[in-house]
Symmetry: C2
Subunit: 355 residues, 2 copies
């Protein structure tokens, strides 16, 4: 990959603002000489930060934006007052074709609303979805939707499957990712009508994706499928609940090891092993959720991440930005359209025959 790629960056987003963002760019720039950056934000703040970097400064252009979106702004308000903000500028750079993807650690709701307005939804996609990596026993899986919307009908779930497949190929470098639908049982009759209809679309032979059936919550962390498809409400609850459970265990482990002399001693001796565990489930390692389905790649970094986490979000943007997402999913979307039409026609004839 010697193609030069440009990533646009919302320089003012995140809890620690420009400092964390520029340090993240520097970390990434050190590993990849073929990516350039357009950083939007207050140049008075950004200039000295960039000047102090070793690798980033030569490959980064600052675009001054006087305003920034508050982390607690309501999405609708942020959009109305969005012009002139670093977030708006960074998204617009993708719209103009100056950058292949945008990264922001700013206000999630504002980013999604602004990106939807500026970039618009892709042809063949009803609704965008938020997709991220989930550490599993087998490596990584992709899970979507994580909360771009709170509901999804069967056709939208099938579109999520197609977009998630592209994510798994581009970001996780998997050749033929398996796709599962999250449900409360693995038997065919489980769940609601939407899930059963989505399953029938995804298992249709005319749609050439590797759909493997329903899976349950506990299957996610054990790598039951490379791509897990669900609606945004369920996906958001599942992700946060898993984070909570993992956080509690990490906290208890620390407390118990520190709670006794033998615990402390054993913990010290086993430090490298415990560090491997910590690294493996490090939330920074999977930082970078992609807002898929817009005419442009939008990556949301966690607002509270650090330069290492921000570097991972940039990596996701570079992988997605170079995968030619739109052309990539086009054939599957065309197949899906035919499958949906054929199914609806069949259902209609069945209804007419019954009448």
């Amino acid at each position: 990959m010697t193609e030069i790629q440009v990533i646009s960056i919302d320089g003012m987003g995140g809890d620690d603002g420009a400092q964390m963002v520029v340090a993240g760019i520097e970390r990434y720039a050190k590993t990849d000489p073929n990516t350039r950056f357009l950083v939007f934000g207050d140049e008075v703040v950004l200039k000295p930060l960039l000047a102090a970097t070793e690798h980033a400064k030569a490959r980064t252009e600052i675009r001054h934006a006087a305003k920034s979106v508050a982390m607690d702004a309501k999405p609708a308000q942020a959009v109305r007052q969005g012009k002139g903000t670093s977030m708006w500028g960074a998204i617009e750079a993708v719209k103009k074709g100056e950058a292949s993807a945008v990264v922001s650690a700013g206000n999630t709701g504002a980013l999604m609303a602004m990106a939807k307005l500026i970039l618009r939804t892709m042809e063949g996609i009803h609704r965008p979805a938020l997709c991220a990596s989930w550490p599993t026993a087998k490596g990584m899986s992709a899970v979507l939707d994580l909360g771009a919307d709170i509901t999804a009908d069967a056709e939208q779930l099938a579109e999520f499957a197609i977009m998630g497949e592209a994510f798994a190929k581009a970001v996780h470098h998997k050749e033929n990712p398996s796709i599962g639908l999250l449900n409360i049982g693995s038997e065919d009759m489980k769940g609601n009508d939407t899930l059963r209809y989505a399953a029938s679309l995804l298992s249709n032979d005319d749609l050439t994706i590797n759909y493997t059936g329903f899976l349950e919550g506990n299957d996610i962390s054990f790598g039951g499928a490379d791509v897990i498809v669900t609606d945004g409400f369920t996906g958001n609850v599942a992700l946060k609940t898993a984070e909570g459970a993992a956080g509690l265990i990490a906290q208890l482990l620390k407390t118990y090891l520190k709670g006794s002399v033998f615990g402390m001693l054993g913990g010290m001796i086993a430090t490298p092993a415990l560090k491997r565990l910590k690294d493996r489930i490090d939330p920074r390692r999977v930082n970078g959720a992609v807002f898929l389905g817009l005419k442009g790649i939008v990556v949301k970094s966690h607002g509270g991440t650090d330069p290492y986490g921000y570097e991972q979000a940039i990596r996701v943007a570079v992988d997605m930005g170079s995968c030619h997402f739109a052309e990539f999913i086009e054939p599957s979307l065309a197949q899906l359209k035919l499958v949906v039409e054929a199914t609806e026609k069949k259902n209609l004839s069945a209804t007419e025959a019954a009448e």
Copy 2:
């Protein structure tokens, strides 16, 4: 509590069948002389097992049941062919007033369907819900519905809150349990109409429960509320996803500690600390989900549990069986009914005024 209580037991349920069940009764019987048991199942199998116990045999009566429900039977089929099974007999003992609660480690779907048919839903409850304990940073929380049904409307969610409060008082011995509604954000405007309407019912001053607002997935494991209310689809996914994440971390911890000499040595020295963690998140400790909202208490033990886990399920049955559940929730249900009526009337006048 010197009141003598009788618990009826499905002696043939669970992956290991009667042997595990009787060993579980023996464990429980050792700790509580005031509980008696009616065990339903094949007396040829049960008699020698019971005869070999020390504490259980004197306080247990065997009721012969020639048939048992297969673990993989479809619920509808299990109900049709249910008469004469150990599960049917055990549930019927509650219906007849011979026992205050029933415990089964058998087929979940069959148990719910059979219990619904035999015991019927309580006055004032639209739909029963499955409720269980969830280990948190602060101790235990109650979560419901875990999958008795896949949807719930606002009024049903409010009923779940009232039933969950009773569970938290009886089983977790909490005086004034806080109640939260699971959502994808804690702000008032988050989620769907059902959740917002449920929140308005639960926060009405005329309903005297300790409702504290929306909470997110990550709040569950950190003890954000004593009772977490959600629909059965979301609750089932959340519980299983958390179990999966916890299971993965436990597996990785084991693998990494065993993967190096220092890891093994440190792990050995820290054994007591690691054992405290293991005990704390031991799924057997929270075994025993209650199917709430029927005219009788039905406790579902995990099918794959062991005697220690089964002992916990019996403990839940004893706590719930002695809490006078129906009388306990009656005042709150009456309050809820008035709140719902007043709200509907208000909404109706608002609609008429607008027309």
